[in-house]
């Protein structure tokens, strides 16, 4: 479904990604793990077109997308929940969801999806008329994911959904990620520092270090891999 071929991404003169090769098949959950500053978020931003790669190509369903603008990439069905959630602080919860459906025209479908998400996250329904900035971290993560789902993505990019959240909330969020993957058949590309969690729900995993992919394998094999355990699982 999505393929990165030898991409190099730069911030000014500093190269953040080196020849990244990565492949995601439809319906999979793929995890990308790595330490702080390894280039995980940059990988997602390269896919979304915010920091397009300087060399290499990004193919979505076989077509190159690395020269498209971010809004065109969203149109194709690739949505991202960025690190730190990025809720629109002064828009209400309901308006934040509207923004997720910005490119959709089917009013009825939008309302149905809103109700579906309110069922999934009842707290959002309670707070629907409050400004997004007033929500707690966990609620904001739920809102950020809901906003992305409002766009009906075929591929959902999640950047550190567990960051700064209580264990109970993290568990809930990860259950929902699996549920979305199964029920809506949404392909998921999950970026996490919490490697243990990320690999447990994933089909396959990639390990990123200093802007390079150093390993990739079935997720269950990575979980028992000695090097991964030592470096990322704290075992």
């Amino acid at each position: 479904m999505l393929e990165l071929r030898q991409i190099d991404t730069f911030y000014g003169n500093i190269q953040a990604l080196h020849e990244i090769d990565l492949k995601i098949e439809e319906g999979e959950i793929i995890s990308l793990i790595g330490a702080n500053g390894a280039g995980k978020s940059t990988t997602l931003m390269s896919i979304s077109g915010i920091t397009p790669p300087r060399y290499g190509e990004v193919l979505f369903k076989g077509k190159p997308i690395h020269e498209l603008s971010p809004d065109k990439i969203v149109t194709l069905g690739i949505c991202q929940v960025p690190e730190g959630r990025h809720i629109f602080p002064e828009l209400t919860v309901s308006e934040n969801l509207d923004m997720g459906a910005f490119l959709r025209k089917d009013k009825k479908g939008i309302e149905d999806d809103r109700e579906y998400l309110y069922d999934l996250f009842p707290i959002l329904k309670q707070r629907r008329n409050q400004p997004g900035g007033n929500l707690s971290g966990g609620e904001q993560q739920m809102l950020a994911m809901s906003r992305a789902l409002m766009a009906h993505p075929q591929l959902l990019l999640l950047d550190e959904p567990s960051m700064g959240l209580a264990p109970l909330i993290i568990k809930q969020i990860f259950e929902i990620i699996e549920k979305i993957n199964k029920e809506q058949n949404t392909t998921i590309f999950l970026v996490e520092q919490n490697a243990n969690l990320a690999l447990k729900i994933a089909d396959r995993g990639y390990v990123l270090e200093n802007g390079k992919i150093i390993m990739h394998d079935q997720a269950d094999k990575l979980l028992v891999n000695k090097d991964v355990q030592k470096a990322y699982l704290g075992i």
């Binding site: 979304s48 969203v74 991202q80 990025h86 002064e90 923004m99 910005f102």
Partner: protein, 300 residues
């Protein structure tokens, strides 16, 4: 008492005009963090477009109502296309440059436009036809509120209500608010941010053109320099209210307009600027972000 009311209305009139211009400053600042110093010139160009179009139409014998409507349309469209072009030429190429670069580009644009109109129209004041007639029903109150004051108040009120509606409820308005609050995220939900920025410039310029048309018809003369003075005042009003805040710009404009009107009426017109800017300094000492502005932390 009549004198007080007269000054009050004169202040409201000034305030409305400042507000029409200040909205453009504050909207652009809210969305790209740039003080568009060429904005006053847009207002001036709107006034000149109105002068030319209304003169031509009057010569061809159009009825007054048709002249007003066509003139307003022409001024709005012409000024909006200037606003759009300025952003494309002078600001968009500098989008990722350090903050000072577009600011200098804006000042350059302002000087360029002033001199370009100066060359075309000379520095003399040009008489501007009174487009707004004396309404009969206003006659008993004419010593307090003139017909054109009333027209300015009503038109600005309508325009501001429409703008509020647009920003609050329309798809474009929501995209503008989202872009202002978090530009990167706006891109990630599929908003074409470049378009939103263009629309912001177009809207702000259209408002300034309406202001230019109204004030020119009220005062009866214009020259190439009116945009600079009005621009600085409206900018002051926007800062007073909290730059980036739309209700703030309107509030700041009315406060500034009323202060000037009362200072002129009770002290002397020589001191209107002294009072206006003293007020600005006072408010900024106690509320550095302006009356309705939010204190923001510079993010790295």
């Amino acid at each position: 008492m009549d004198y007080f009311i007269e000054l009050f209305f004169s202040g409201l009139t000034r305030g409305s005009i400042y507000a029409l211009i200040a909205l453009g400053y504050t909207m652009v600042y809210g969305i790209i963090g740039l003080i568009n110093f060429a904005h006053g010139e847009i207002y001036m160009i709107g006034a000149f477009t109105a002068l030319i179009v209304s003169t031509v139409l009057t010569i061809y014998g159009f009825p007054l109502l048709a002249v007003i409507v066509l003139t307003a349309l022409a001024a709005v469209i012409w000024a909006a296309s200037y606003g759009y072009t300025i952003e494309r030429l002078a600001y968009r190429p500098l989008r990722s440059a350090p903050r000072l670069s577009p600011l200098i580009s804006a000042i350059g644009m302002s000087i360029f436009l002033q001199n370009y109109v100066l060359l075309a129209q000379t520095s003399d004041f040009q008489p501007f036809p009174a487009l707004i007639p004396e309404f009969d029903f206003m006659e008993p109150y004419a010593h307090i509120v003139g017909s054109s004051d009333l027209a300015i108040l009503v038109v600005s009120a309508i325009v501001m209500i429409l703008l509020t509606f647009m920003i609050k409820f329309t798809r474009t308005g929501k995209a503008m608010r989202a872009t202002a609050q978090d530009r990167k995220m706006a891109m990630l939900v599929g908003i074409n941010v470049d378009n939103v920025i263009s629309i912001t410039f177009i809207t702000g310029s259209a408002l300034a053109a309406i202001g230019g048309l109204l004030i020119a018809s009220h005062i009866g003369q214009i020259n190439f320099y009116i945009g600079f003075i009005a621009g600085i005042k409206a900018f002051t009003a926007a800062v007073l209210g909290g730059i980036g805040s739309i209700p703030g710009a309107v509030l700041g404009s009315f406060i500034l307009g009323l202060t000037e009107a009362f200072a002129t009426g009770y002290v002397s017109s020589d001191y209107e600027d002294v009072f206006a800017f003293s007020l600005l300094v006072l408010i900024l000492i106690f509320k550095p972000a302006g009356l309705l502005g939010k204190a923001t932390v510079e993010k790295v």
